[in-house]
Symmetry: C2
Subunit: 329 residues, 2 copies
């Protein structure tokens, strides 16, 4: 690999999470399906916020969480995403930069407000997400900085981006820029419902452009419309060089050709599962970009996921670098 | 006591806390005195925010935390404070109402932004607070709703209010309304430096109007400019009917005339001491307003303080009502 200024550039929705603890009864009453992400409009965001409990605001966004995690591990990280020049936009921009991430995107002076995700955490630590995409909806292929992609070992794309009108164009632009510069393309499937919405497009993009695919077992089974995890893993091995597949408390499996590396979950007290997949990807990408073996990269991912689910919010609180040194040496 | 619509009405600064974990080295570098609250202007707020780490936004404000705690205990709570019609103002208004507090104050359409407090938490769980008062500075005696005071068993005033130009007028108006309606006046000294700024005014107000005084051992010693806690306790017994004096890990002492009720601290793992005094006051006021003995009121305060210091942020996360039932029966 030639030297680059950054280890990973993430492109994703720039979101501030509004996290509130709730009950199963409240989810039932609001007819919300536990554990999934749904998109809501501004009116529904205002309505739901009005009836939900007191919240905590923490910067979020799936790829943004991953990139913040890469930086917290000591990796050189860059991020592209769209916020407005409002207070939540200030919060998002501050937090990602304060984590050591380069975030060059200017805050938009008009258009929808900065995105927010109303995250409802039940006593079983599951999170039910209600996302108002706001300013993210106007992220465009023109925001994809080809020089920034050339300056990173890998570009990391979140499937959720496909929900914006220019999502497919953003993916295409990023993939072409990466190919032109000889950089790798990593992608996360994001969410089972996101896979349902864009399955054929995702499959076509993955087969043509993706080197490293992140998914949980439900998402990967949904992508290939198969019932067994083994079958989904086998199918993914035909489409991408590396598939890092997470299985909650069963840990993860890294698929590379006919090889399978099984990584145990990191034992922890689970408080809020928000960001588990995002931080697994952070650890894996950091390890991979800095030359670790697939097994060690997976173990770093597992420790990072364990840290994030031990507290409220999807941005790391512990010093991940120290944590990895302590846990893995 | 005649029946009232509310147990407690709080009047205080309406603030959103921006909480970041930090190091002692950062406090040194920024020349910040650990553990105290200082007032900062908008420029300093922007500068410090720019150099501090990623944050978590949680509604705060000293009396507001207390009132949120009263509501979380099942008390009937009301609050008066001033925010703007900006996003942090929305957050403050949402969170306090979602906790079950009545908050009738309209969000101001102009003037300074909603107040924020940059809270830096060191590994020893101490919090160093930097407050930009923003919209709070324009709270005025006209905002003191005499009917709301008449409708509450007690009005609770924070010493910090004195930092706003109309602070003294707000205190006077609240005290006169309470006297006219036969309601009790409770006050917290807030902070040792706040006591330094307004010692003579505080003493005059306390002697004339206050029934229940809250302070920690440093604040009460500073108020009377004495060195021993015993002497400070004795002096407070001459000035107020009840003084609830907190002593960190040594628990608290409730002074009523020649009586002393000693309450142990509630053992817990300390993560962030922000709000310990606020929630002690919440528990005590709730107990007192609902007819508990001074000892039981103090023990409720102690359990609430223990809950708040076990996590980041000064608003309760646990169901305080259940917690009290479990711990105290």
């Amino acid at each position: 690999m030639t030297d680059t200024a950054f280890d990973v550039l993430g492109i994703g929705n720039a979101i501030v999470d509004v996290i509130a603890e709730t009950t199963d009864a409240f989810l039932d009453e609001q007819k919300l399906d536990k554990g999934i992400m749904r998109l809501i409009d501004e009116d529904e965001a205002a309505r739901l916020y009005g009836v939900m409990g007191p919240g905590i605001e923490v910067s979020g966004g799936s790829a943004a969480n991953t990139i913040a995690g890469v930086a917290a591990l000591g990796g050189r990280a860059n991020f592209i995403g769209r916020v407005r020049d409002d207070e939540l936009g200030d919060v998002f921009a501050h937090d990602i930069r304060a984590q050591g991430v380069s975030f060059a995107s200017a805050q938009a002076k008009d258009g929808p407000l900065t995105a927010r995700c109303l995250v409802l955490v039940t006593p079983d630590a599951q999170r039910t997400m209600n996302t108002y995409l706001g300013a993210c909806i106007q992220l465009s292929a023109r925001d994809v900085d080809r020089d920034a992609i050339a300056a990173s070992r890998a570009v990391y794309l979140e499937g959720y981006l496909w929900d914006a009108p220019e999502g497919p164009a953003i993916f295409a632009e990023a993939a072409h820029a990466a190919a032109a510069a000889g950089r790798e393309v990593a992608m996360t499937l994001s969410d089972p419902f996101c896979v349902d919405r864009y399955r054929d497009d995702f499959l076509a993009f993955i087969r043509e452009h993706v080197d490293i695919l992140f998914a949980n077992e439900i998402e990967i089974a949904s992508l290939y419309q198969v019932e067994s995890f083994e079958e989904a893993a086998r199918r993914s091995s035909e489409d991408v060089r590396i598939a890092a597949l997470t299985r909650s408390e069963k840990g993860s499996v890294i698929v590379a050709g006919s090889g399978r590396t099984v990584i145990g979950a990191h034992p922890t007290r689970v408080v809020d599962t928000t960001g588990a997949g995002d931080l697994y990807a952070a650890g894996f990408l950091y390890g991979y970009a800095t030359g670790a073996s697939l097994e060690r990269a997976g173990r770093i991912g597992s420790v990072c996921a364990g840290e994030i689910i031990s507290h409220i919010g999807a941005r790391p609180r512990a010093n991940l670098r120290t944590l990895i040194a302590e846990q893995l040496g």
